[in-house]
């Protein structure tokens, strides 16, 4: 009772302050937010929250599985301590993110958190985690506002390894207008905040470059018949369709586009949500020629196929979408930071200062990861943020390997 009252008072005073936020000294470590002591033999707990039920199930499961692989690649340990990922279901809703984050925050042994999948969940969840002194590294929440300069204090502990929408949209628009030379484009989003935001940013950039958005459409992720929408788009005769939607919808779109004769010459650019072998199966022969925006760097082409193989042997199927790599990277960043921030005492117990860990995370620089070299800026954007356009060249799902299929076509 007194604890709660104390918490309440502290919270009322300031968003940042909670009962845990007093300088604490445990063992050899003093930290202004708090210290986590991990007794020898106990595991290091890392929280994770993602969409594991509802419409975005695939992506959320992929991401946490990617993170599991990062732990396995580290032999399952950091500093000699076993690492355990506590995955929670955050759905793709604000209240899901909030509840999952509250649950994780309730376990004082958790040192850091990865996730969530959706920006809505991050908006509600990230401040809760940071109030408990836990930094979070998102693998899917791409909304620019989350790392904007004027973000509220509660988001100080929010980092992400996935690039923010604005960069990707700008890159794609420039590529389309200048390299492909298309002057008219149509967009399709699926009603999720992620795709809508990306599409809007693309529309803005494309128009600023001098192009024209002839049609701006939306579908629902459960739609199976996209031909009416495509017919509507075809009446405007765009040279390009930009649609960062997910695997099912891209599959339907590409297969059904062939039935719309007026769209025969229209190119399609997709987002990294379909950077996977699964889109080849979903779209069948029509996948050939599909271009997508995705992470660049040679690192990615080298390491990603190995990652996909490991993923397959561990979980029985290849990743469904492209976000599993971000799951891997978020965990990698976290583990590296723990390595820096963790201190052991004579008895072999591990102490991790929360502020020290956060600082170590924010100080991440030149970290070779799956999607490129990670480096965090002062607002928590840690993504490699180097893009490329990839093009699928074969409809055989077993040939999937960045560099070969899809092939890098730009830059």
């Amino acid at each position: 009772m007194t604890r709660t009252l104390a918490c309440t008072a502290a919270l009322a005073a300031s968003l940042l302050a909670t009962c845990a936020f007093a300088a604490e000294t445990l063992g050899p470590v003093t930290d202004e937010i708090g210290v986590v002591k991990i007794t020898k033999g106990d595991p290091i707990l890392i929280g994770g929250y993602s969409s594991q039920s509802g419409g975005d199930t695939n992506q959320g499961i992929d991401e946490l599985r990617g993170a599991e692989l990062a732990i396995l690649d580290n032999e399952g340990t950091v500093l000699g301590f076993e690492v355990q990922l506590l995955g929670e279901d955050a759905q793709c809703t604000a209240e899901g993110g909030q509840t999952a984050a509250t649950k994780i925050a309730g376990n004082p042994q958790v040192v850091a958190v990865i996730g969530p999948t959706c920006s809505s969940g991050a908006r509600a969840g990230a401040p809760i985690l940071w109030n408990a002194g836990m930094p979070s590294v998102a693998f899917g929440a791409t909304a620019p506002a989350l790392t904007a300069a004027d973000r509220p204090d509660g988001f100080k502990g929010f980092l992400r390894v996935v690039p923010n929408d604005l960069l990707g949209a700008d890159f794609t628009a420039t590529y389309a207008f200048e390299n492909l030379g298309v002057k008219t484009a149509a967009t399709i989003h699926d009603g999720s905040p992620y795709t809508e935001q990306l599409v809007r940013a693309f529309e803005k950039d494309f128009t600023e470059l001098g192009g024209t958005i002839v049609s701006s459409e939306a579908v629902s992720p459960t739609d199976t018949d996209l031909r009416p929408v495509l017919t509507r788009i075809s009446t405007k005769k765009p040279e390009l369709i930009f649609t960062p939607v997910f695997t099912s919808t891209v599959g339907f779109l590409l297969r059904q586009k062939t039935e719309i004769t007026d769209l025969a010459g229209t190119q399609v650019i997709g987002g990294e949500g379909v950077f996977s072998a699964n889109v080849i199966e979903a779209a069948g022969p029509n996948v050939v020629g599909l271009r997508i925006v995705g992470p660049s760097t040679d690192l990615f082409s080298d390491r990603f196929p190995v990652f996909v193989e490991a993923f397959k042997s561990e979980f029985g199927e290849a990743p469904v979408g492209g976000f599993s790599a971000y799951g891997y990277d978020s965990m990698l960043l976290t583990l590296k930071a723990i390595e820096t921030a963790g201190k052991t005492d004579d008895e072999g117990n591990l102490y991790i200062g929360r502020k020290a860990l956060y600082d170590a995370m924010m100080a991440t620089k030149d970290l070779p990861a799956l999607t490129g070299t990670l480096a965090c800026d002062e607002f928590g954007d840690c993504s490699a943020a180097t893009y490329a356009i990839w093009e699928f060249v074969s409809d055989d799902a077993s040939t999937f390997a960045p560099g070969e299929n899809p092939k890098r076509v730009y830059p």
């Binding site: 499961i61 992929d62 018949d225 599959g251 069948g284």
Partner: protein, 365 residues
């Protein structure tokens, strides 16, 4: 009759209606007028906007009939079960999904032998058989778990059980078969297209439409002509009386579920044939649409289910083009469910028993 007499008669009837009606009737009339005005305005605007050519509209109609025949196939299974038990099987859409996956595995193994590409006419029936068999088995299991234990009690228990089983099937299939989207292998010449009156129509869509008609005919034949159908009709009229005259009620119900499940299997395979890729979560929303189609046509009525499916499909494909274009809304196809469900609600307001349904006695309704 002179014009004066006619106008007098109309006046009389109007006055009569006005006298007997209550405010609810007036309100309904107002809704009718408002809807009619909105629809006409949208239509006029859409035509004036001239976005689409006649060929576009013909294509829209074809798209509508295609997705409509899938809805119809699902609705037929829904309606079969409803007709006999007067209960909705919320897991029906997921039975369809399971049937579709069974078909996928059958098709994959046949494709390994090269059969799907070389002899689609042999392969397709085998794939359909796999889908039907598994669909029927799952459906019978659902009857066993969700319906049979509650036949004698008055409660919503079967509905809740069916909802529970729907979750079990979705997330169970997710665990068993994985999350990824799966594609059916190619079916040789059946992947081609034909030219009909200037329209290019993919063959699978003709197959799906034809199959829906065949299934409807088959079901009607079973219900009208066979002893089993007679038993079904008897059980649906009065379960107790049917038992009294020596009909094995529980066997009849099991057979009905089996047939309904087999229909769901057919729907699942044909869906995959037309739309090519399947996922474990596709059943729920298609099931809802099938439910809507069955209700739209008048639940318990086989012809109604067929009609309801086609009408719903057409409304979704044509609706945004015809009605919303005139209002200049952004992304009109995002609102196709508004058109589909809106039409459903309106039809129910004005014809509470659905398109072909009979007005059920209050006890039944």
């Amino acid at each position: 009759m002179t014009a004066a007499a006619i106008s007098a008669a109309v006046r009389n009837r109007t006055a009569d209606w006005w006298r007997r009606s209550i405010w609810v009737d007036h309100l309904m009339l107002a809704i009718r007028v408002v809807v009619a005005v909105l629809v006409l305005w949208g239509l006029a605007g859409g035509i004036a906007a001239g976005t689409y050519s006649a060929a576009n509209f013909a294509s829209f109609a074809m798209f509508g009939l295609t997705i409509g025949s899938v809805y119809a196939l699902i609705a037929l299974g829904y309606t079969m079960v409803y007709g006999i038990l007067r209960m909705i099987n919320f897991a029906h859409g997921d039975v369809m999904m399971v049937g579709s996956f069974a078909g996928l595995f059958a098709a994959s193994s046949l494709s390994g032998a090269g059969l799907t590409n070389d002899a689609p006419l042999i392969a397709l029936p085998l794939v359909l058989a796999a889908g039907m068999a598994v669909g029927a088995a799952v459906s019978v299991a659902i009857e066993r778990v969700a319906y049979r234990p509650f036949l004698h009690v008055r409660s919503l228990a079967p509905l809740i059980c069916a909802i529970g089983l729907s979750f079990v099937l979705q997330y169970g299939a997710r665990g068993l078969f994985g999350t990824r989207n799966r594609a059916y292998p190619g079916f040789g010449w059946m992947e081609g297209t034909v030219q009909v009156a200037g329209l290019t129509i993919p063959i699978p869509q003709i197959v799906a439409f034809g199959a829906a008609l065949v299934v409807l005919a088959g079901l009607l034949a079973i219900v009208r002509l066979t002893p089993l159908g007679k038993a079904m009709r008897a059980v649906s009229e009065d379960r107790d009386a049917a038992a009294l005259v020596g009909i094995d009620v529980s066997r009849t119900i099991v057979f009905t579920f089996a047939i309904g499940g087999a229909m769901a299997g057919v729907a699942g395979v044909l869906y995959a044939l037309v739309f090519k890729q399947i996922t474990v979560f596709m059943g729920f929303f298609l099931g809802i649409k099938g439910f809507a189609a069955a209700i739209l046509g008048g639940i318990g009525n086989l012809g109604g289910a067929m009609l309801g499916g086609l009408v719903l499909g057409l409304a979704e494909a044509l609706g945004p083009a015809l009605l919303l274009e005139g209002y200049g809304l952004p992304a009109p196809y995002q609102l196709k469910d508004v058109i589909g469900y809106g039409m459903l609600v309106l039809i129910l307001i004005f014809r509470p028993q659905g398109l072909l349904g009979e007005r059920l006695a209050a006890k039944r309704a």
